[in-house]
Amino acid sequence: MRENLRAVKGRTFVGAAELASAAARILSESGPIQERGTVRDVPDERTIRYYLSEGLLAPAEDKQGTASVFGYLHLLQLLVVKRLQAEHLPIRKIKELVEGRTERELERLLGSDDRQKNEALNYLESLITSKASAPSPKAASPPRSQYSQPAPPQSSPQRAAGGSRWARVEIEPGLELHVRDDYEPPREARGMQRLASAIIQSISRRLGKRRR
């Protein structure tokens, strides 16, 4: 559904027929399966006019000749109405749910169903969102000179220049780890081993320099 919607975002539909066929195409590719006989599978022109008169769809914003010009918002409203009808909600209730919603909210109403059904997609979307908000590890690591500063005796979270929080953990006297608060250790044994050997390597590299 999401991909199909993305393809028509920002488009206009001239006339109820064009809006109906756009909705029909999206529903046939990904829409809910409706019980035949109770609610029409796909909306037609007449249904759209009926929805407009009931206030389920917002009035058209523009006219081209005699034809109303509809936009992405109308398409979303139409899709949400069809979906809610398929769930056997009364028209009055549907109107309450749809009226005054923004495009984003309507998208979410359409998406929420997918979300429950499709954990995989939900998961991948969360990966993209979290990536956009979290600073990259490289940018957030403190400048190298900080490593040589004397550390406070207790472990305490520190705010680094990038705005991320770091905690100092003493491993043994003379050796500390800096851990950013959103750091997640590897879950698998192999990852832990890799981590351990990376730590050992950087320590021995440092000792090597000192001896020279």
Binding site: A120, L124, I128
Partner: protein, 418 residues
Amino acid sequence: MRVPKIEFLLQRTHLEADREQTVDLLIRIIPPEIDSVIGRRPRLNIGIVLDRSGSMGGEKMERAREAAGYCIDQLLPTDRLSLVIFDDVIEVLIPSQLAENKSALKEQVAHIHARNSTALHEAWVRGGMQVSEHITDGAINRVLLITDGQANVGLTNTDEIVSQAMGLFQRGVSTSTIGIGEDFQEDLLMPMAQSAGGNAWHVERADDMQRIFSVELEGLIAQVAHTVSMGLIPSDGVRLSDVLNDFEMNENGRYRLPNLQAGSSLDVLAQLRVPAQAAGTKRHLLDLRLGYTPQEARSAEVLKQSLEVEFVEASRLRELPVNQEVEKAVRLLMNARARREAMAHMDRGDYVLAKAVVSSAISASAPLFSRENASADIREEQQELSELSSALDDRRKDSMTRKLMAYASYRRSNSKKR
């Protein structure tokens, strides 16, 4: 589906009495054949994620296009295919669709050309989304990531990408990886496929691409079970001292095994420390618990089997025939370990030690190599090790040598075809 079969194989059918000993136990897991009456293969929902960064230019790109075209040819009209191409920009070239119009799909593939750098992680996510949008129960929902380079745009942390690939697998979409040439990150692509329920492939030469594609597809079609785990519970007094395959453990302390494919059995080698027993005793040594999810089912099934062995006097034992399969499995898995050890030495820059490890693997394998009836895989192992040994003298070959070792060791441990 019919259930897998488990065979316990010892070097001899009995064990020697009156002696504490370490016993090599070959556990052979034989997947059931696909029911020929039904004759149906699982539906495929494949998302190819293809690197088109600059380094893929020339022959590699040409072969990748051919391989993708080959893949399209193999699909049934009920299978789904999507194709995401990436460099630093990600493009959904073919949104997920039924493979109905093959010539139109192939036409699109024909126009892919190489350019720019490598946003591997995000491309994988986008490819995963194409597959996830149409995730189908009972089908094989798989992302096929093809790259020749290093992830250098976006998220590049190996552990994070690997754990995300595992996260997606737990939600029903697996990932296989195909690394081409000598510049990709085997330490990313191999663990990624292993933790994501897929296969890791190394294409050494571009002209090998289509063969690898066909092995991957055959494997998908033959897949009978996924999310396979094995628990080994030794009985009192017996100790499990090693599992030579070095499988990862899952959160329940069971070994994570590769997917089961009809026609390819999986060899696991466990070493048990067994206390002395009087001749004539029959003793229970081990319980095995195999967990798996059949391809067409949603829930896991469990198969249990226990091993009981009789102890006989040494003189009688020596008269019993030796099962050569056990010795071979031990040796090949030990050699797989030797490769991993040699890799670790290489990474530290200790090439002398790396070579010494390979040389001692070669000499330990001498009895195997000198068998008169040596099978093709033994001959192959012999040749590989000797090539490896000489390659370790040439620093220009290091990157390729490391990959050859990594993938050979992975294949042995997981009973994968080359």
